[in-house]
């Protein structure tokens, strides 16, 4: 197997892009990544996307984006794994280069959500759950996370306000990310009094609906230097699955797939937990951030929230998370999120994260979660030099 490097990154601002559709967003990110890498040709293009069929009545994004980008004839396919679609597309691109089937591969995550009404988006997102046994009962994604959060508070004795540090940290970091959607700090008081969406989840626990696209260019690591001064090596790329329905889990508060994919990632990379300098996790809701920290091994069970309360997740903490705003404040254009996480990790590893730079960052981990934890994809990235 060949080692794989990321030699180019690109992203659009995350937000409400009334003036851009799927193809324009995807192209903007792809062109930025191609410019950054300075590559002339691409062997394949993988598109991570979840909702295009439901929101834009447009599937077949592989060919659509390839054609719009002027890449006539290129291999191109859309990859879908709910909110983990972005990282799933990266996994496929990684496998193609690692396995020697392609040398130069572009992976684009793209999502267009703001063309649909709130009810349509809520129903569309619920298709990541079990249609026959969850969604039919009026279950929404926020509701599923609220069920987890309430049970978690019940089992471990936390209050709603205890989850505030996750959102405060994300918003604080988004201020200095020019691509983030919600670039303003929030206070603990604002968190405590935020509008309820699905009790105990409020607006300030939840990531926003938005549009965006992000892209990376991959190539064999031994060719990376010819294109990029500061390439980033993919040390691990792992996928694990769990039951789609939350009610089918023996223990809903344990993200088995996150534990498996993180464990496999540490194995593949040959690194330990303590070696990870920062963690771009899937904070679609504050409870998911806590459960991800626990399942990945960074906090003992029931201590994910305590870890945040202790300040360990801040930029100067033991394990900085959401360093560019996370899903909460950068925004969560669902199928694009996995690539945004990787683009931001690359910025950190290149030393290009501006005021949010984690000093001496060498190893970063990203984790993209589909549904309530049914697909979890972990990548470990390393600065090459």
């Amino acid at each position: 197997m060949r080692e794989v490097a990321i030699i180019g990154i690109g992203q659009t601002p995350v937000g409400e892009h009334w003036d851009k559709g799927l193809r324009e967003l995807a192209l903007e990110a792809l062109e930025a990544a191609i410019r950054d890498a300075g590559v002339e040709r691409l062997d394949a293009l993988y598109i991570g996307n979840m909702l295009s069929g439901q929101v834009e009545a447009q599937e077949h994004l592989g060919a659509l984006v390839a054609d719009f980008a002027g890449m006539h004839g290129v291999e191109a396919v859309k990859v879908e794994a709910a909110c983990a679609s972005g990282a799933a597309a990266l996994r496929i691109g990684y496998a193609m280069v690692a396995g020697g089937l392609a040398d130069f591969v572009a992976v684009v995550g793209v999502e267009k959500m703001t063309d649909a009404s709130g009810e349509t988006i809520t129903a569309a997102l619920a298709t990541a759950a079990d249609a026959e046994y969850e969604a039919v009962h009026g279950m929404t994604f926020t509701a599923l996370n609220a069920l987890l959060m309430r049970r978690y508070m019940h089992e471990y004795g936390y209050r709603r306000e205890d989850f505030a540090p996750f959102s405060i940290n994300a918003h604080r970091n988004a201020v200095h990310n020019p691509y983030a959607m919600l670039r303003f700090p929030i206070t603990a008081e604002a968190f405590a009094s935020a509008r309820m969406i699905a009790d105990p989840i409020t607006l300030l626990d939840a990531s926003p609906v938005c549009d965006g696209a992000a892209a990376v260019i991959l190539c064999p690591a031994d060719q990376a230097r010819a294109f990029q001064e500061r390439p980033v090596r993919i040390r691990a790329s792992t996928v694990a699955t769990d039951t789609v329905a939350l009610h089918d889990r023996r223990d809903p508060l344990w993200l088995e797939a996150a534990a498996l994919s993180a464990y496999r990632a540490f194995q593949q990379a040959g690194v330990r937990l303590e070696d990870i300098d920062f963690f771009e996790l899937h904070d679609a809701f504050t409870i998911m951030a806590a459960l991800s920290l626990e399942a990945s091994g960074f906090a003992p069970r029931g201590r994910g929230v305590a870890m945040a309360l202790e300040g360990a997740i801040f930029r100067d903490g033991r394990l900085p998370i959401a360093t560019m705003g996370g899903l909460k404040a950068r925004g969560h254009p669902v199928g694009a999120t996995g690539i945004y996480q990787v683009v931001e990790a690359v910025l950190q590893l290149r030393g290009q994260a501006g005021p949010n730079q984690i000093p001496h960052a060498r190893l970063g981990m990203t984790q993209n979660i589909g549904g309530t934890g049914a697909t979890v994809i972990t990548h470990i990235l390393e600065a090459m030099d």
Binding site: V136, L246, P252
Partner: protein, 145 residues
């Protein structure tokens, strides 16, 4: 929902019919054909009692398309007596009355309607277990409405 799709799920939605594993005896709902405990086939139908308790719950204020008329509604995870968790709405109870551990039982209700000409989908919801009415005759006490 297409009528055929609603019809396929009739045993589960109307009778809470799950499966029992011939290998290890695990009772499963929803039916899943392969036992998650022992990975052996589990295709023998098994009706669940419909009694359980609230494992967790929330109130939905921002509904998906098709559920607007029911807002706000309570959705819950119910821990059934036989072991499985099931997702369902709670009915005949207000959000302020629900608590984790509350005993509940299955009832059949309208899950959602698809406009004037669409299918009306029925299925299970859960309500607090009704206690048998006890009347103590007390002729002297005034009856108030």
């Amino acid at each position: 929902m297409h009528p055929a799709r609603a019809w396929r799920g009739r045993s589960q939605r109307y009778r809470l019919e799950g499966e029992i594993c011939e290998g290890c005896g695990a009772r499963l709902f929803p039916p899943r054909d392969i036992c998650p405990e022992c990975q052996r086939p589990a295709r023998t139908p098994y009706p669940l009692s419909g009694r359980g308790e609230v494992y967790s719950y929330t109130v939905v204020y921002e509904p998906p398309a098709g559920y607007e008329e029911q807002v706000p509604y309570i959705v819950a995870l119910i821990k059934l007596e036989e072991g499985p968790l099931v997702s369902a709405m709670l009915t005949d109870v207000g959000p302020e009355e629900v608590y984790i551990g509350m005993p509940v039982e299955m009832v059949t209700r309208v899950l959602h309607r698809q406009g004037e000409h669409g299918v009306i989908a029925y299925g299970y919801k859960f309500r607090p277990i009704l206690r048998r009415a006890v009347t103590i005759p007390s002729p002297s006490a005034p009856v108030t409405a």
